[in-house]
Amino acid sequence: MCHSEKIAEHEILENRKIAEDYYLMTLKCAYLQKAQPGQFYMLSPKKSNHFLSRPISLFSQKSNGDLQFYYFTKGSGTLELSHMKPGEKMIAQGPLGNSFTKVKSPLLLVGGGVGLAPFYELIESRRETMSFELLAGARTSTGLEILKEFKAISPDIDQSIYEASDDGSVGMKGFVTELLIQRLAVKYFGAVFVCGPTPMMKAVAKICRDRGIQCFVSLEEAMACGVGACVGCSIETPTGMKRVCKEGPIFDATEVFYE
């Protein structure tokens, strides 16, 4: 009834199970929203049992405007998302938050599990102008199934992707941080972008700090409004309280992991 370009109803084109607990949802969007890699949307089924929307990182924005979101069924909200069927309606509010800054290539991207999500759009939209390597980690192979989508971006991308799994079911057996140490030892990188579980991001930030490499982290925090009005997602930084939804979700690692 009352319309704003920042919040709109979209039809689900596909809600594909990528692996156990991992889904990729595609929304039909009539217009291009000019979302930047690293930004997120507040998503909610039009008919939802939940009081709040869920902040979900943008996976991909297609040239016709369609939006893709890669998510992990962590709680009841994302579980509800996974039950949605093509043709049903979603409410998407966004794009929200800041985006990955443009820094000197080559970039080293480090993603853990569902934290791989923002790197797809980053690679897809900037691969013409930047060189990169992607280090992908997960507990088991299920968390790395999504890499098939990454590899489909272009045939040469495969050689820029390094995989690690805790159980060794795919790629190197071990943590993605071991891959990080290896790559940093053999090649120069302009900066490291990391998104994943907090302990992993902290470990990556420390490795970068020890080597004097700039590191940017994409944070996750429980949110209510997504636009900075409720200050529910604020975190403490040396330069004051910052809202993950507004000043973030991307922060310089030294700003958020400084202890």
Partner: protein, 306 residues
């Protein structure tokens, strides 16, 4: 005169829809969504004398039909507010009623805040938050003791020429007693309810979900509680009421008005749907037409007469 216009406590509101303090920042975050000047009023986020970081750790959690927050009054403090936010508010909220929300740990702090706001012509009213349940030493102690409510209301009234709204907590034995105390203290308007004290536990980690442990419940879950509170307060006092607590659509607005609220604030329902503000104003206008009301005020407290 528009059917939606309401006059309360010396304030002339273009319609009875307001934002609830703490849910709309300082009025800037939703500019890309709709013009806040279409609202009857905007209640700003709570201000304290000093800058406050608020509570650390997780601050929000969804619960059935609602949410619990323990933001803990994060705000830049009154001096930073005057320096960095006031001008923007003056420019962007020039055609609506602006309500500053003040929070003190002592009567003196409430007085200081009211004094610092006195010269700002674009702040039309002051909401005295005697009820914020999140601060360990502070608001709560005022809001649960009638004498303290009366004392702080009197003190603020004495130094301020603005419309004084006293915001009441539902976490008391008798909210009507608290309302009477504020009225005796000279309050122009009462606003109610603030959030209901609540908590959530993570059964996996066996810990409290919120960093602060206890927070305030808001959302549809508290609406029947809020409605009952407005109804009881309406019976107890003669000053106007701004009703709030879980308002999720225009029907809820009508319910609060029928219970005795002259105006109604929308809070956490706007997190999922910020467009609820323009939608509700529009629907209320339709409601007046359908019901052939001359003024929306005609339904205020109607259930007390029926």
């Amino acid at each position: 005169m528009s059917k939606l216009e309401v006059n309360i406590g010396g304030l002339q509101l273009k319609n009875p829809i307001l934002t609830a303090s703490g849910c709309f920042g300082f009025g800037q975050e939703y500019q890309e969504y709709f013009d806040p000047n279409i609202l009857g009023g905007v209640a700003l986020k709570g201000i304290t004398p000093e800058m406050r970081k608020g509570n650390l750790g997780r601050r929000v959690v969804e619960t059935p039909s609602g949410m619990i927050n323990s933001v803990g009054l994060q705000n830049p403090g009154i001096e930073n507010f005057l320096k960095h936010y006031s001008l923007e508010i003056k420019q962007t909220l020039s055609h609506t009623t602006v309500i500053a929300n003040i929070n003190g740990k002592s009567v003196e702090e409430f007085v200081l805040l009211a004094e610092r706001l006195e010269s700002l012509k674009h702040i039309h009213a002051i909401e005295v938050n005697v009820s914020c349940p999140n601060i360990k030493q502070g608001g709560m102690s005022f809001g649960v003791v009638p004498d303290l409510i009366k004392q702080v209301t009197q003190a603020v009234k004495k130094v301020s020429s603005k419309c004084i709204i006293v915001k009441l907590t539902p976490n008391v034995t008798s909210i009507a007693e608290m309302a009477k105390a504020a009225e005796e203290g000279g309050a122009d308007i009462l606003s109610l309810i603030n959030t209901v004290q609540a908590m959530a536990i993570d059964i996996e980690s066996k810990k409290l979900v919120l960093g602060n442990g206890i927070g305030g419940l808001s959302g549809a879950a508290v609406k029947p509680i809020a409605l009952r509170a407005v109804y009881q307060v309406k019976s107890a006092v003669n000053i106007p009421i701004i009703g709030m607590g879980g308002v999720s659509n225009w029907r809820d607005v009508v319910e609060f008005m029928m219970a005795g609220a002259s105006a109604v604030a929308i809070g956490s329902a706007s997190f999922k749907n910020p467009m609820i503000f323009p939608e509700t104003v529009h629907e209320l206008s339709n409601y007046c037409q359908r019901e052939k009301l001359e003024s929306i005020s005609d339904i205020v407290g109607i259930v007390h007469k029926n």
